[in-house]
């Protein structure tokens, strides 16, 4: 749950001044829809075909969600990379793949700081949860932004997204983190429900936050598009 994605050796590139690749509202909708569909597909397959779910097999399900969502997120977001001329599509994909372990590590450490269990029994669950978090938070950002520290800081620390694609990165990532944070709240209650175990409720919170923020980001993109339209007129 690390919002400040720090410690990346950066050459505070001036590239951030370059306007990110434009994205229309329809495209934004398509990107979000595909991400949501992939998520739904992952749930459906794990439920129906493998007959597992978050409550019975949390690590497997989380892993399955991650590997279903990951290629779609990378492939989609790499299309909207910054500096499209200097950076090829493949490079963007590579950056996205690199973002997975880094994001997973940061999320893992954040979760441990907030009290996630670290015993051997829980380790795979925590790791798989961190992978999923990283797919939701850092992977899209690393595809689009690359290693531009200034951009990372602007989006994740200051929460000042600039342009439609940055809304699509910033809001869902924040939504996932905040959702996970709230998802931890039912854990200490003594209802003795199976879903109160780590990381099930947190994962539900993550996904709920992610979905809500997706819709919100779409709303922002639409609103922005309209205001720009007006300005241009």
């Amino acid at each position: 749950m690390d919002r400040g994605k720090s410690h990346r050796e950066t050459t505070a590139s001036i590239a951030s001044t370059a306007e990110p690749s434009p994205i229309s509202a329809a495209e934004a909708f398509l990107v979000n829809a595909l991400c949501v569909l992939a998520l739904a597909f992952a749930f459906w397959v794990s439920n129906v075909i493998y007959s597992i779910n978050l409550v019975t097999h949390p690590s497997l399900t989380l892993f399955f969600i991650s590997i279903t969502e990951l290629p779609i997120v990378i492939l989609l977001y790499s299309r909207y990379r910054q500096n499209g001329i200097r950076c090829t599509y493949l490079q963007a994909v590579g950056r996205g793949v690199l973002g997975v372990p880094v994001g997973a590590l940061l999320n893992f450490l954040g979760a441990v700081a907030l009290g996630a269990p670290v015993t051997i029994q829980y380790l795979p669950k925590t790791v798989n949860w961190a992978l999923m978090m990283s797919v939701f938070t850092t992977v899209p950002a690393s595809c689009v932004l690359g290693s531009s520290w200034a951009d990372w800081r602007r989006i994740f620390a200051q929460t000042k997204p600039n342009g439609s694609i940055e809304y699509l990165i910033c809001l869902p990532a924040h939504g996932a983190v905040i959702g996970a944070w709230f998802g931890a709240w039912p854990m200490p209650l003594d209802w003795e429900r199976p879903w109160q175990e780590w990381p099930i409720s947190v994962s539900y919170g993550t996904i709920a936050g992610y979905l809500v923020a997706m819709v919100a980001s779409l709303g922002f993109v639409l609103a922005r598009g309209r205001s720009q339209h007006i300005k241009r007129e």
């Binding site: 690390d2 919002r3 400040g4 700081a113 907030l114 009290g115 800081r153 200490p188 003594d190």
Partner: protein, 947 residues
Amino acid sequence: MEASGMGGEGGCGKWGYIWAMWTTVFLHMVAILFFTAGFLLTRTELPHHSHCSDVSHSPCFSPLNNNGSCWTKPATNRLVLIVLDALRIDFVAPSTFFPESKPWMDKLPVLKNAASSRPLSARIFKAIADPPTTSLQRLKGLTTGGLPTFVDVGNSFGAPAIVEDNFIYQLVQNGKKVVMMGDDTWTQLFPHHFQTSYPYPSFNVKDLHTVDNGCIEHLLPSLYKEDWDLLIAHFLGVDHAGHIFGVDSTPMIEKLEQYNTILERVIEVLENQSGPGSSHENTLLVVMGDHGQTLNGDHGGGSAEEVETALFAMSFKKPHSSVPPEFDSSSCQLDLDGKNVCVSTMQQLDFAATVSALLGIPFPYGSIGHINPELYALGADSWNLDASQKLSESDIWMQNYVNALCINSWQVKRYVDAYSASSAVGFSHDDLSRIAGVYTQAENHWSHSTKKLLLDRQNDSDILVPALKRQIDAYFKFLTIVSELARSKWTEFDLNMMGTGIGIMLISLIFQVFTILRANKKHAVMLSSSEDSWIITGSIFTIFLLGIRACSFLSNSYILEEGKVANFLLSTSGIVTLRQSVIQGKLLIESIGFLILSTFCRFAIEVGLSKQAATSAFMKDYTSWIINIASGLSVWDYAAEVVPMVVLILLAAWLYRVTSGSFFNWPWKYVILGTILCYVLIIVHWISDSDRFGGPLMPQSIGKTYIPRIIYAISLGQLLLLAFGQVFKSNSLDCKTILVAKTTAVLSAWSSTVILLSGKQGSIVAFASIVGGYFIMKFVNIEDGKVGSCRSFSIMQWSLFATCLFFCSGHWCAFDGLRYGAAFIGFEEFVLVRQAILLAIDTFGFSIILPVFGLPLLVATKYQADVGKHFIFTQLSKMYTTYGLITAITTTFTILCVTIHRRHLMVWGLFAPKFVFDVFNLILTDVLICLASIYYFDQGKEVPELK
């Protein structure tokens, strides 16, 4: 940055800054006094015991001449007491007594059949227990005949052993032997009373069988033995089955069926040996529950399901007389088989008196129950030996009963008088005089008419019986008044008082908020108008975190995991700071370090919480988490001994470096040197204490007792020096430097005692708190250039960190979380005030004393030296008020929570201890804030320092 504008305000001096704090303390104390008087039911335990010879002081007939019996004529020789934990009345009584037949009813047919086939010698009672309906309190109530409350003020310092008089003690005292099997609560309550005991651990709720199987194994063989007069068998299965599966479940029904089989066999064995001359000729069997349970298996509160339990009593003699109908409370119904079953009603409060009367031992001194006529009647026939008179059996029984009641009333009156004389919060004067009036009336009737009638053996029953009945009614009236009064005093919350307390508490909160706002307004001039977004974000986060923390106290689960919740919030605040530091592009290392520190705290808290679950290492000296970790390898053992010392040496070195700073002049310098000396002494103490290094260095006694005392003395001396040193201070330094020096000095003076009391973990926790405090201090400066920017977030962080330190140092909010061992460091014998102070310092040292005195560091590091004294002091007082407000808000929520949950199952187990801790926390924080403000705000003249 000009402070001169504010110079005019300095006229009111020191008191201008601190009057608000004193008002707050006063308001809080009044509020808490009111609330506590209404909520915490308190009773004083009297140390007196009844003696055989006492009865000669009573106006009643004493049977002393009568073959060695004591107060009353014994009606039974031996008693088999089978306690089935959490026995609901509908387990025992036939289902026809209840509106609906449920699966768990009629599962103990053996009791019902006995009661219906032999109504004169076996009876079923609905026994009404008094809350709190937890096993420990109920067993205490059953044996002492009193009404145990949450706070039984007495001589037991932590240990649950009963010090009050009780019938087990009386039995032992009168040469009878007691055998116990089952729930080990009994052995905790009566550590030295049992001839033989077979205790089994009761805390594992998931284990339905260990205790019961142990009981079964020993129960039947014991019945054949002759070496006991009272046999106690306490079965726990039904209680545990209820907790885990609920009442309507297969395990519960299986348990009841199992009990039915056992009870059948017990009755069979007793029956077979009940012939004349056999060992159970004169035995009474009692099968009872200590409390009921709800359908979910909960108990502890005062709802009907929880307080209504069953009592079955059976005597194996030939039945003789029945109770006169005036005293018969039974109601009868046909059961499913068409047999007539009667169920009577009694109070559990009366159990101790009745059993004592049946066994012929002195009634427990503090018993306020009366002898239940129906239960007493079961032992009736053994008085008929001298039946030479023309009276019927029932009349003879009544003669005996009236005499027993006479003794009973006299004993209760004696207790009420003694209680009012010795307890600080006794009964009111009106109540006492009312009691005395009723008693005198009954006693006059006894001495002037009844006694004479009884002595004159020629009386006809026509004259005698009405007189006896009137006498019995008079005694009943007296005993009922006493028990009602005691109930209202000891088991009922006073909602008006509680409401008043909450109201005053809310007023104090409003007052504090008002004070802060006023201070803010005063400084509106000085605040640079460029309000930064961080100020707003910080304030919002503060309110958010505080709100979550306060609301978390409304649920028992969060209270149980309070340490984890506090740490979660601390880490969250750390992440927010990290985010802020990324925005500002500075202090990155510090904020990451803070997160790492809170992660460490988190592990320490988890180790502490795991200890809470199994509280076996209770009176151990160092029940610290270091030892827990180190119990494995010998290398770890070694490290666990050495690491704290190394850390302490580091601390001493750091302090030495601080003193070498130029601005420390004499009072502070010597204080800090004294602390370094203390640290050295602590190390020596640890070395001499440990098995590994100790021994050859010096005699144990010096290390064990004298070194701690020297350290306490040095600390006290340092504090006195600091308090009076101000008078001689040279005013050459600027205000900020003095503030830093003062803070460091007072912290170091406290630290040696706190570390010593906390044991080996102390130095590590102290190190952690210094590091954490340093980081938070740095974070105050995260926004540069803005004088008077909002520090509420830092204060919240400070307070959360203090809470985490409380849990890190191995405490939790329950009385078994107190480390009693710490109270005896340096002292062997127990002196209440001294040991209580030491215990308080150990418990709250890291979480209140050090944080409160260290708070000025947050102000001092923020400003340049030139902002002027008045400004700094106003900031400081605002800061203290904010800190006090944070504590007050959390405590207010705890108070609201116990008010809402006052009938909750865990009110005595969880909420009330939390309440006591929080209230203590609040008062201590307030008082320390006041002391700190006196110490920090000196009266020196305001020197307008202009830039």
